[in-house]
Amino acid sequence: MNKTKRIALCGMLTALALALSLAERMIPLEWIVPIPGVKLGLANVVTMFALLFLKPKEAYAILFCRVVLAALFAGSVTQLLFSLTGGMLALTTTWVLLHKQGTWFSFYGISAASAAMHNIGQVLAAMFVMQSVDVIAYLPLLLVSAIPMGFVTGAILDVMQKHMRHFNLTGHLNG
């Protein structure tokens, strides 16, 4: 796949991730888990997809663009900082764990770990911004909720990856 195609794909993935992250704000998850800013992490699916089929460098770029744009569209500077710390930490975790995907780990476990790292990053950023350790009280609940959230994104990824085989997108990319 040539450079133009890759860039176009990256742009499309960024747009998709942005749309997903904005859409999931409409899901009132706070009713179930009483923590401000709790999210399903659907945009994480896109990030993992990018890691699977593109280069890590591109995955990081997509993540960065998505987080900045999401903050621009609906959010604040503090939120940007939270998402960026959480996102980078999550992405790095995913990247490392994906090397053993299929042998040691499945998408479910990787998604859960990634969600957990995302939450840890967010809480760390919040502690730094608010100059207070009180935020850490949210962490246990956030960590536990990372497992069901991981199952949701993991399932999506599992299904999607199987379907992608038929499209042979990878062939185009690598060709």
């Binding site: 764990l97 040691w104 476990g109 770990a113 957990a116 850490i136 009280a137 960590l143 497992i147």
Partner: protein, 128 residues
């Protein structure tokens, strides 16, 4: 096989690590909380301020009650009415309070201070 979630051994290790981490933080917090006490200032039935006690905090708070100015002192893990513009000065005589369940009140000014927190060796109420 196809109908099952294809979990691998490592997944369970990841879940275990996450849950262990959550429990660890939670237990640590719970332990901290049992020692944590708060000083509440209630003016006319509504919470005016809540102060974390137990540190080295020194603070003097002055507020306006019904009959005049009320001054409250915070000193580490305890608090008291220092002075109050009221007819009876009962609140000043009450002295320091520091244990969960203790309270002091300035009736004419309708200002109350009380110690709250997870009740460990404190009391649920005090008969006065």
């Amino acid at each position: 096989m196809k109908n099952k979630i294809p979990l691998k051994l490592g997944d369970f290790a990841l879940f275990a690590v996450i849950i262990a981490l959550a429990c660890g933080v939670w237990i640590r917090l719970a332990l901290m909380q049992t020692e944590q006490t708060y000083g509440e200032i209630v003016v006319d039935g509504t919470l005016y301020r809540e102060i974390k006690l137990g540190g080295t905090e020194q603070e003097t708070i002055t507020l306006e009650g019904r009959t005049g100015e009320v001054t409250i002192e915070i000193d580490g893990d305890r608090m008291r009415f220092v002075s109050s513009q009221c007819p009876d000065h009962t609140c000043e005589r009450t002295g320091w309070i520091s244990r969960v369940g203790q309270s002091a009140v300035c009736l004419p000014n309708r200002v109350m201070i009380k110690i709250t927190g997870i009740n460990q060796d404190g009391v649920d109420a005090v008969a006065q």
